[in-house]
Every structure is written in C-alpha cells, then in structure tokens.
C-alpha cells in the first residue's frame, strides 16, 4: 500500500472510509503501473515511485466517461499521427494533380506578404528546407473559395479571375470572399462545430429551437463581425430564454445530468476551458490532480490540482437553469443567483467525491491561470470570469490556433484543444525530454498579439493568414518530401472536402440543388429549392438552400424532408457535435456513394432533369418536372446548347466541376469518349459522353480534395 493513506485518514476521519479510499489508492496505483508499463515511463525508463504516494494524497480514479480514458488517442500521440496523415494525404493528392514543371524555391527567395511569411520562411531557411513554389491562380481561387466560403467557385468565377490582370487580384479576391454572405455560412458551421451546437446531445437536448437560436447568434455575430472577445463574453455571461437568446445555449450545453450541481459547474468549466482556452485537460483536472495522471501528457496539467480547477468551476456556482416544456418540447431559462457556492460536499454523481479540505468546506471563485484573481465587489461571477478569460493571452492563442488549423490543415498545437501552458514560450523551463509544444511559437504569439490588439477581429485574422504566401504555397512538392517537414509548412497541406462542402460542390458543379416539397399541417404543398428546417412538430421554421447553411449536423433529420441529402452527408462523417467528432476519414461507403448514390446519379443523368421518373429508382430528389426552366443541369445545358465542340464541352465541365481548365493531355485522353459505339445514335453517344465525363470529374482526386 502506498503510504499516502495517512493523510486521507486525517481529512476524512472514518476508519471505514479510510479503508475504502486506501483501496481506491491501490487501484490508482495499479492503473498507474498500467500506464507506466504501456507507455508513460520517463526518459530514463525509471518509474517515479513518489507519483504513487503523491497520487494517494488526492484520492482519485477516472470516471466512467472520462474523456481521457475513453479516447486517449485524443490526447496521446495524435500530434504525430495527424502530421503523418497530413503528409501522406498531401503526397497522394498532389501526385494526381495536373500541372508540371514546378520547382522548389529557396525560402530566402520567397517574397514575404506579412509577418507570417517572415516567421515561416525564416524558420524554413534556418532548417535548410526548400519551400514549395506558390500555387497557380486556379489553385488559389478554388482553395480560398472553399476555405473561406465553403463553396467551389463557379465557371465564370474561374474565367474572370484568370482574365484579371490586376497585380493584387488575389488580395482583392480575398476581400470579396471575406465579405460575401457565404463566408457567414461557412464560419457559422465552423463555430457550430467548435461550440458543439446540436439540438440533441447526450447530456442535454437544446431542442431544435435552442440549436436554431444558437446558430442565429453565431451567424449574426459573424455578419456584424463582432469582436470575438465580446462574442465569448456574451456566451459566458448569458442569461435568458434558450429559444430567444442563442448565447443561453452555451450555458445549457454545460449541463451534466445524473449528479449534483457541482458536476454541472465542472461541466461548464470544462466547456469554457476547452472552447475558449484550448485546454481539454480541464476535464481530467476536475476529477483529480494532474500529478500521477497527466505527467506524460501535459507539463502544465501535471502540476495543476483539482482544487485549482474547482476555482474556475466556482465562477459558475451561481448559474441556474430552469426548464419549461411547451408542447412537450423543453426550453430553458438561465439566470444568475446572488447566493450559492461551490461546496465540497458530494458523494455521488459523475465525478468523484468532493470532501472538505481541512476546514475549507467551499471553494471561492479564483481564476486558476495567470492573475489568480477573484470576483470584485459588485461584479457577478460570470462577468468576472468573462473578463479574466478574454484578457488571458491564452484566449487569443486558442482561437488563433483553431483558425490556423482550419486554413492550414495542421495546427501549431495539434490536436488544437490540447494546449500545454508550460510549453508555450521559448523561455519556459521544462522537464527533460519535453520540447516546446507549438511548431512555431513565435508565429503563434505574433498572431495572437495581432488578434488581441486589433479588436479580436476574426475577418482580419482570416485575411492575414490567407493573404500570406505561406497559405498560397502549392501542395505539390517537386522534391523529396519528409514528414519531418510538416511543422515547417513547406507546402500547402490538402484535406478532403467536408461533408457539407462535398454536398454543395456537387450541387454547384451540376447545377441541380435538392428540391423538396413541404406540406404544412392542413395547408397546401409548396416546393422549394433546398430543404426546410422543421421543428419537433414538423412546422417549417425556414428554408435553406445549401448544406453549409444547416444549423446543426443533426439536420436534415432522419425520415424528414432532405433525408436523402442527410444520408449522403453522414457518409462523409460530419459527426454529431457530441460524442462523434467530425473526421476527414474515407471509407468504402463514401466511394460507393460518390459513384452510385442517387444523389450523384440524379445529378449526372440527363434524363433526371426531365419529367420522367422511370429510371430514377425511387429517387425523388430533385422532384422531376419542378421548374425545369429554372433548373437546367450542367449536363442538360451542355446537351442542349448547339454549336459546342467536344473540346468546349470538356472545358465547360472542367470549369464547372474542378474549377480549372483541362490540360491538353487530359483533353486528348477524354476525346475518344465521344466516339459512338457501333450502331449508337450520335445524340445518345454525346449524352453518354457528357454524363460519363461529369461522373468522372465528380470522382476525381482534385474534386474530392481541397488541395
């Protein structure tokens, strides 16, 4: 038995309890050894026995849904895995991309657009790594349009951009994209993921009304280009009705059922720490001290105690949520009480017991980072917390890292919510065997500084990154590429199109949006482009036309209008913003869907746009015969436009689908497709060729990836 049991005895008093706690300590020792044995011994291969003793001082174990134990891969080794995946995927996609004759560039010769380039190419130069060349205009247009607005450019966008002779046309394009309405759609999806906005979560159902309200809050904030610190403040201090005020749903989402109120205060602290500070280890620390658990994971967390973490949770100890049901659907009201404390008096629930520490029976709010400040007179607790959070340099670092990862595929800190506060600045003293965590600490710091000293302006940050030549490098690397180069950003990394991007890119390339028919209860059926957002009673709240405008990855709901789009979206693993994160993994099912799903077939086939449903195999999307004048699919339009040469048809399909011109080599390979088979009518041969090429381009590597 570890010796620590004496301390337990003195604080708890009861011999029986001491026995139990001692047993717990024993279990922990066993688990510790398990960790040691399988992965976490230190640099010298020595297990530190004192960890066991220290652990016993704060008895603990993990809970049934401890996120660390449940998905340790979220914490350990993911950085290397992600790097390797990014590297391999980029190699794959780049190998299949058109374009030849590009050469590596010495980083010293790379023109610098802003301080990002200074810090990236400077570091690359010191390391002696060559840079990829800058990407072409076609590549830049598609990349930036996808990243900033979630859509692919139209054929006209491509030809106009290529024609444009302006020296700063890329700069101008970025401004256009950043101030487009689509920008708000895309980043509302991004923040919806970050804030885990979903109507139906395992810990609480915000309901569709709540998820809608939260989406509206995010969307409106983006439209207004709200100061990001203000946005965070509004969420942390939210009060009111969850359907009327979207911010309230941030607080609602922190709910932890089946336990005492302290579990929810902890849940809110975890959510705040993870979302706004990138510190997912808060979840561990609210169960137990970091020592003995996180030593191999996070230097900062390893020396942080559960008591420190309670100080953060205590800011939420006066947050109250009440539920009212309207038509059997829940909505919530969040208020701030004037009394109430974080008491150390629990012996059940989702986290281990909270027992008095000496004579301390409740924990006062205390910001556990930096300032260690508390609540000032006259200030309510959450207002104080919002003040501390938004003034914390880590607040800016966290969001800068999230957005850098979104645009650059690989975060400075990866996974992006696993910051180690003890390994951020070059001056840090760290235990042996540890190195600085961010791949480019100076740049992370400079971006965070720029962000916070310029009004926490998200558009400015996004523009700054996408304007840099670092962002504008080619994903091709005509030389020997090594996974060790990944942290240097010596080329642009690729990513698969996200579910919504894929859906919308297919719709945009083929020019066939989904069409649905909605019949209100006792009313008249109406058809619409896109799909309706329906509430729990199937009453239409609004209509949307693009998947990127969905408020929630649970929409469109199963068995409801738009469900065929939803099944297609789900196969691209958009996650549920709760237990399953969005992933960029591929699968056979995706390949089958891209080749044969009705969603694709309908958009490739010439007949699908006509009135006949005979060969549609039950597919009702889009509804045949609906506004055929208005919706003319790319395939149908090319069939019905006279005077086009086969080469022109190919070019048009390329521009619509891949946002680029075909190479001469590609045209040569495709042209034989138009040759009629023996006895085949010329018109049918042409139709089959156009359909076939459309299908091929939708399945091509440079359609499936943002490269």
């Amino acid at each position: 038995m570890p010796r620590g049991k004496k301390e337990i005895l003195s604080s708890s008093g009861s011999p029986n309890q001491a026995k139990r706690l001692a047993l717990v300590a024993f279990v922990v020792a066993g688990l510790l050894f398990a960790f040691d044995r399988f992965g976490a011994f230190d640099a010298l291969g020595q297990r530190a026995p004192r960890q066991v003793a220290r652990q016993a001082e704060q008895p603990s174990a993990t809970i049934s849904d401890c996120s660390f134990v449940k998905r340790p891969e979220d914490y350990i080794g993911t950085e290397a895995r992600h790097r390797s995946a990014v590297s391999q995927m980029t190699e794959l996609a780049a190998a299949s991309l058109a374009g030849e004759g590009v050469q590596l560039v010495p980083p010293q010769q790379m023109p610098r657009k802003n301080f990002i380039d200074d810090l990236i190419f400077g570091k690359m130069g010191v390391a002696g790594i060559q840079s990829a060349p800058l990407c072409t205009d076609e590549e830049f247009l598609r990349r930036a349009t996808l990243d900033l607005t979630g859509r692919i450019p139209s054929a006209d966008d491509v030809t106009n951009f290529l024609k444009d002779q302006d020296q700063i046309k890329r700069d101008i394009l970025l401004d256009k994209l950043i101030y487009s309405p689509e920008f708000n759609d895309k980043w509302a999806m991004f923040f919806g993921d970050l804030y885990k906005n979903t109507a139906f979560a395992s810990n609480i159902n915000r309901q569709i009304g709540g998820a809608e309200a939260m989406h509206k809050f995010i969307y409106d904030s983006l439209v207004q280009n709200k100061n990001y610190a203000q946005m965070a403040t509004e969420m942390i201090t939210a009060r009111g009705d969850s359907y009327a005020d979207g911010t309230v749903n941030f607080i609602v989402g922190g709910n932890v059922p089946m336990g005492p109120a302290q579990d929810t205060y902890d849940g809110l602290a975890v959510q705040t720490g993870t979302t706004f500070l990138g510190l997912s280890s808060m979840d561990c620390l609210l169960c137990h001290d970091g020592a003995g658990h996180l030593d191999a994971v996070n230097v900062w967390a390893a020396k942080t105690t559960r008591q420190d973490a309670w100080g953060l949770a205590a800011f939420y100890a006066r947050t109250r949520r009440t539920q009212v049901n309207v038509n059997n659907v829940a909505r919530y009201t969040v208020t701030e009480a004037t009394t109430g404390d974080y008491d150390l008096n629990t012996n059940s629930g989702n986290r281990q017991n909270r027992t008095p520490i000496g004579s301390t029976r409740s924990i006062a709010p205390k910001y556990m980072f930096g300032s260690k400040g508390g609540v000032t007179t006259g200030e309510d607790r959450r207002t104080a917390l919002a003040r501390y959070i938004t003034q914390d340099p880590q607040f800016a670092r966290a969001i800068v890292n999230y957005i850098w990862e979104e645009l650059m595929v690989e975060g400075f800190v990866s996974p992006s919510n696993t910051f180690d506060l003890a390994r951020l600045s070059p001056g840090s003293t760290m235990p042996d065997g540890w190195e600085l965590q961010p791949t480019n600490p100076e740049l992370l710091e400079a971006l965070a500084q720029d962000f916070s000293s310029n009004g926490f302006d998200l558009r400015r940050l996004i523009k700054l990154i996408s304007l840099s030549n670092t962002y504008q490098l080619s994903s091709k690397y005509p030389g020997t590429w090594k996974v060790e180069y990944v942290p240097y950003y010596a080329r642009k990394y690729v990513r698969r199109l996200r579910a919504e991007e894929m859906h919308d890119a297919i719709v945009k390339a083929t020019n066939l949006p989904p069409v649905t028919q909605y019949t209100p209860s006792g009313g008249v059926a109406t058809k619409m482009l896109g799909f309706p957002i329906l509430d729990e009673n199937n009453v239409k709240l609004r209509e949307i036309q693009w998947a990127m405008q969905l408020p929630d990855t649970a929409q469109p709901r199963q068995g409801q209008l738009g469900a065929s789009s939803a099944a297609f979206l789900n196969s691209f693993l958009r996650g549920n913003r709760d237990t399953n994160a969005r992933t960029g993994d591929a699968s056979i099912l995706q390949a089958l869907n891209m080749m044969n799903n009705g969603f694709i077939q309908m958009r490739v086939n010439y007949m699908a746009n006509n009135t006949s449903t005979t060969n549609v195999s039950g597919y009702v999307d889009p509804i045949p015969g609906y506004n055929t004048d208005k919706i003319l699919s790319t395939v149908k339009k090319l069939m019905e436009t006279t005077g086009l040469t086969n080469e022109q048809i190919i070019t048009q399909l390329y521009l619509n689908t891949l946002s680029r011109n075909p190479t001469q080599k590609e045209i040569t390979k495709i042209l034989p497709f138009f040759t009629p088979a023996s006895g085949q009518a010329a018109a049918l041969a042409k139709q089959r060729a156009i359909e076939g090429i459309q299908w091929v381009l939708l399945n091509k590597v440079d359609f499936l990836f943002n490269y």
Partner: protein, 505 residues
Amino acid sequence: MKEHLQQMDSVDHSCEDCQTLRPANSALFGGPTIGRREFFQIAGTGVAGSFLVPVFSKEVKADTYAAQLNGKARNVIFIHMDGAPSHTDTFDLKVGSWTPADFTPDTYNGVIFPKGLMPNIYANLKNIAIVRSLRAPALVHGLQQTWKQIARNPTSLLGKVAPNIGAVVAREFEAQRQPNQKLPGFVALNGGNVVQSGYFNAKYTPFAVTASTNGLGGLTNNFAGPDDFGKRYQLLQDLDGENRVDSPLGDPVTDMDGFYQQSRAMMYNPEVDAVFKFSTADANRYGILNGTTPTPTGFGNSCRTAFQLLKANLGTRYVQINIGGWDNHTGIYATNAGIYPSARQFDSGVGQLLNDLAAAPGLNGSSMLDETLVVWMGEFGRTVRTGTGTAGLNGNAGRDHFFQHFVCFAGGGVSGGRAIGETSSDGFAVTSPGWSQGRPVANEDIAATIYSALGIDYTKTLHDDPYQRGFEYVPFATQGLWYPVNEVFSRDALPSRPKLNPRGR
C-alpha cells in the same frame, strides 16, 4: 470508473481482500507478472515504449515461446455485447433472491444457465465453451471496447495505430483470396464502436454496412449500365494517373483508391448482391417474438447477413457484430426492460446463427459451424455486491461496472458444453482460472485464442508500422506473457504450461 468507485465505496472489504483478486505477484489488474528486467527488455519490442522518447530499441535476446495453434477455423464472427452485460445474470449465472423467476435456471452438463432468459442459447450449450475466469483491465466502456478489438492497451504507442484483430485476419488471409472473391475480408454490422484498420492498408478496414432484407444499396449505377460504367471508371483511372492505382509512394498513399477499387469490384455482381439480401421469414426467425408477432431486429438481421456472408465464400473471413443495451445501471430486471430486450435479441440472433451454421455444409466436409469460430463478450461485467438496494443490486435496482466477466466461444474447433474457470459464489472474483496459465484470462489471451483457432501465428511481428517498433499480433506473446486459451478446443485434461521453446531471433 464512477461505478467502480461506487463498488469500492459500498463494499466493505479490505485491501487484503483485494490482494486476493490479483494474480500472484501482479501489479496490474488482470495481467500476468512481468519482472523489471523483462519489462525493460520487452519495452523496446513494440507496444511499450514512451511516445515521448523513442529510445528503446534494444534487441530481445531472451528465450521465446512458440505459438501453439489449434487451426481448425477459417472464419470468425465476433459479437460485441456493447454496454457490458451482467455476467452473473447470463453466462456466469449466480442464482439468488434477486433472480427473476422467468430466468428459470437450469444446468446443461453441469453448466448453470438462465434457460428462461435465453432458451435458444441454452439449446446450443453443447456447442459453447464459456470462459468464466475473464478479468477486464478497465471499467470504461470506450477504453475496454477498443482494447479487446486491438489486443493491447489503447493508450500505448502502437495502440494509436493498431488495427482491429479483424483487419489482421483479413490481411493474413488476403493471399488466399480467389479472383471471384470480391467482398472485403472484414465486415462490421450493426454499428457500435468498431476499431478500423489502424496503420494497415485501407482495404482491411471493416466494411461497415446496415443489414436489411433489401440488401445493400449502391452496388449498381442505375443509369450507366455495366459497360458504360466500366468505361467511366477506366477514364477516371487514366486521368488521375498511375498514382491512383499503383503509387510509388507506398501503401497509405493508395488507400483512397483502395476504397474505389474495392467498391468497383463489388458492383454489378449478382453474387455480391444476393449476399446482402434475405427473406422476411429469415428476418423474423432471427428476430424476436414480440407477443405473437415476430419482429425483425437489427441484430438478428446482422446475424443472418453474417451467416450469408460466410456461406457465400466471397472473401469475407471476419465479421464483427454489435449488440447494445447491456449497460443496465437501473432496473436490470424490469419487465420487458433492463436486460430483457438485449438478452432476447441476442438469444434469438445468436441461437439461429449457431443453428444455421451447424446445418450448413462447410467447405471441408464438415459443417460451417466447425469452421467458423463464434466469439461473444462484453467489455466488462457488472457489480455483484452493493450495499443499498435489493441484495446484489445497486440503489437503482441495477448493476454497475465491474472487472469480472466472461467470454464464450462456439464452433471453429471449440469443444462445447463446458465452462472453463470458476468464480466465487457471488461472481466477485476468480477462484479457479481453469487454464494452462493459472491466472485470469485477459483481452490479449482472447486475441491469441482467436488467432490460434484460425491457425494464425499470434507471436508474429510485422515490421511495417509507422513507428518502426514492430507490430506484434499479440504483444509480448513471444515472451509468454499472453497465451491462447487452447483449453476451449479440447475436453482433455488441461495441458501444462508450455515449456520454454528457445528459438532466438
């Protein structure tokens, strides 16, 4: 581990009690002893090793254990009872005042079983070997679910990239694939937490589909006939270049195209199409009787599909099926709730699966059951002693998470009608391990048993993992740390612990 804590809080036993639960001299729950010297020797061989400081690469010079293989099975159906079923209410039944009357406990060949709860399984006990000396290393659903699918601690370095056992099996059998065998080697049915192919090529990724009488969608392109489709596919290959098919950059790079190739091979193939379709009568038979109306279940459909997949012999060798609903923290015996819905679905699905496998001729003259190993287990067991509620139950009339549990094997050379290992009268601890190693059985031993049944050398190490540490099929098996429960294959007296078989490296 909340439930674990509750267990500890409510059970008033001392540390001395706990010591008795441990294998002798073991510092790790459920794991065998390993000395410090051996520890650092094997630290470099693969699974161990710090992810921070990859410095251990010492050659292992110690004597090694050769694999002991049974090798009678060619397929595996692995059924994951998601949520952790109560061992003392199912396959390690302990009858007490709490036991509902409709469990109607009965014995077969000395093995006590809740005949009333699972009549079809009871009727099949002659084919089933129950291992009751199984201990889980963790009481967290996700961790233990992953652990048992990859045969190693998921928090270990290779745990991050380790393939599912099914992916290893698919890869091992890839060389046996015949030209007409178009189906993926590894199929996963009925959802759940399915570990993928790890660092292996994506063609070994479980093909996760939904089983239904209508079969699988997307196997044909309704507009383009097979010929047109073939032309399109060829053009796609031409345009994306050789890299799409045969990349000079290595396996991971061809992964994306691997999915396309596999999908393509399954299309326009009536044989493949038929594998996924079955009659409503079959769906009802594998489903459950709800009152007098037979109700198809997702699990039953999956069991039927698994049978057809293996019977068709189109390349699928490993099928994983999930059945949820076992996490009975509250009201475990509630009428038509608690454990009942899962137990009934399970009983009907697995019962019919075993019946059909036994009735179908196999490839080698015996029955399909003889050449198909069917394995089922939860991720851990459930509490047997708590202080507050009805005897044996917690305050919510349920059972919480607990280390002790069971694993069952049937078919594939298994000698059934037996229970291996014994637990204390309340099911709290192992009293007799009942197998050659004289310690409780662990996840890794089950993996070794599966490999043994298939004749796959579980001591094998592949040297193609991204960390270049070597991927051991069963970690430390060459050091004799884990071992197959070969007792499930034989009624004979227990073999003694195998001798050291020095073969060096």
